[in-house]
C-alpha cells in the first residue's frame, strides 16, 4: 500500500477545534479479536489493559478521512513519531522502511463528546477532567490525544511524573477503563468531515 497522503500534515491544514468535532468519533486499534464482553459492552482487554504506560497521554485518531485501512499502519521509524504543526511539510513514509501494515488489527470507536470534558470526582475530593485534544503527528495529521487534567495540581497527568503517585494513577487508570467500557463502541458509520474543520479555506 502506498502511504495515504490524506493522513499527512500538509499546507493549509489547521489545528482542529475539539468542539467542532464533538459529534464525531475517535478510533483506536487493538489486537484483541473479541472486542465485546458477554454483557455487550466493550471488553477492557480491548481498550485499556496492557496499555497502562500510555494511558496518561492516550493516542487515538479522528475517524472520517482516517479510516480503518489507515489504522493498520504501524510506524517503525521513530522519526515520524513526533508531534508537529498541522501544516508541516512531511515526506511520506516509505513502506517496509518507515512503516508496515498490521492487517490483523481490530478497531473500536468513541464519540468525542461522550468523553471530552468529562469531570471525574471522587468522594475523597480528587478531581480530574478528561480532555480530547488535536495533536498532529508527523505520520498522522488526524492524531488526537486523550489527556487528564488534575485539578488540585493544575496540570496534566502526563506532564508531571512526581505527581504520578500510585493512588492518582490507579484512580485515573480505573476511570479510563470504566469510561471506555461504558462509552466506546465497536462499529462506526462512515462519514466525511467538512473541509473547514481541518483546513483554512
Amino acid at each position: 500500500m502506498i502511504y495515504p497522503e490524506k493522513i499527512l500534515p500538509q499546507a493549509n491544514r489547521i489545528k482542529i477545534n475539539t468542539i467542532s468535532v464533538g459529534d464525531f468519533y475517535l478510533t483506536r486499534h487493538t489486537k484483541e479479536k473479541n472486542l465485546l464482553s458477554s454483557d455487550g459492552m466493550l471488553s477492557i482487554k480491548a481498550v485499556a489493559i496492557g496499555a497502562e504506560k500510555i494511558l496518561p497521554d492516550y493516542s487515538s485518531s479522528l475517524f472520517g478521512i482516517f479510516k480503518s485501512e489507515e489504522g493498520k499502519i504501524k510506524i517503525i521509524n521513530d522519526k515520524y513519531l513526533g508531534y508537529c504543526k498541522p501544516d508541516e511539510n512531511v515526506t511520506a513514509p516509505a513502506p517496509g522502511v518507515d512503516y508496515v501494515l498490521e492487517s490483523e488489527r481490530n478497531f473500536w470507536y468513541v464519540r468525542i463528546d461522550d468523553i471530552h470534558n468529562t469531570l471525574i470526582k471522587y468522594n475523597d475530593g480528587f478531581e480530574a477532567v478528561c480532555e480530547v485534544i488535536h495533536t498532529p503527528m508527523l505520520w498522522n495529521f488526524w492524531h488526537f490525544s486523550v489527556r487528564w487534567f488534575i485539578t488540585e495540581h493544575n496540570c496534566y497527568w502526563y506532564e508531571k511524573k512526581d505527581m504520578d503517585t500510585k493512588k492518582i494513577r490507579r484512580k485515573l487508570i480505573f476511570e479510563i477503563r470504566s469510561l471506555l467500557r461504558n462509552k466506546a463502541v465497536t462499529q462506526c458509520c462512515d462519514y466525511n468531515l467538512s473541509d473547514d474543520v481541518y483546513q483554512s479555506l
Partner: protein
C-alpha cells in the same frame, strides 16, 4: 465473562482450586436473595457437570481469565498468586451478589487487578480491586449512561455507596 443469570434467575459461579482438587461453588438465588456456597471434590464436580451441562460454561471463569492473561502477556502467574486472586474473587463476589445484580461481568487485568461490572436494571457499576491494597476499591456507578461521583474506600463503604446510588435515582 458473565456470571450468567439463568432463566430461573439463579446465578451460579464456581471457583476451582486445582491444588486442593476441589471446587467452591457459589449460588445466588434471586428469588429468595440467598447466597450459598458448596464445596465439592473433583469426582462430585465432574458428576455435577455431567448431570447439568448448562453449568459447564460457568465453570473455570477465573482459570480462563488467568490463562488468557498468560497467553496475552506471556507472563507466568504463580500458583500462590492464582490462589490469592481466587480467594479475593470469591470474597468480593459474595458481597456484590448481595445487591442482586442482573448479571456480572468480570475481567482480570495485566496488573492482576480484578475488574467487576455489575448490571442491575439501568445501572452499571464498575468496580476495580488491586492486588496489594486489601481494603481499597474503586467504583464508578452509571445510570442510563450518566456517571455518578466515583468512590474509593473499603468494601463496607462501597456497599453503602452503591445502595445510596440506587436510592437517589
Amino acid at each position: 465473562m458473565i456470571l450468567n443469570p439463568t432463566q430461573n434467575r439463579v446465578t451460579k459461579q464456581t471457583y476451582l482450586d486445582n491444588r486442593l482438587d476441589s471446587a467452591g461453588i457459589i449460588y445466588h438465588d434471586f428469588s429468595n436473595k440467598n447466597v450459598n456456597t458448596e464445596f465439592l471434590n473433583s469426582g462430585l464436580l465432574k458428576d455435577k457437570i455431567r448431570r447439568n451441562p448448562v453449568d459447564v460454561s460457568l465453570f473455570n471463569i477465573l482459570d480462563d481469565n488467568l490463562i488468557s492473561l498468560v497467553e496475552k502477556y506471556n507472563e507466568n502467574i504463580s500458583g500462590e498468586t492464582k490462589r490469592y486472586i481466587g480467594n479475593r474473587f470469591v470474597k468480593y463476589l459474595l458481597r456484590f451478589l448481595s445487591i442482586s445484580p442482573d448479571y456480572i461481568d468480570f475481567e482480570l487485568t495485566s496488573e492482576d487487578s480484578l475488574f467487576f461490572s455489575l448490571h442491575r436494571d439501568d445501572f452499571v457499576i464498575d468496580i476495580e480491586i488491586f492486588n496489594d491494597d486489601f481494603d481499597e476499591l474503586f467504583c464508578a456507578v452509571y445510570k442510563d449512561g450518566i456517571k455518578d461521583e466515583s468512590y474509593i474506600g473499603n468494601i463496607d463503604g462501597l456497599m453503602i455507596h452503591i445502595n445510596q446510588c440506587f436510592l437517589s435515582k
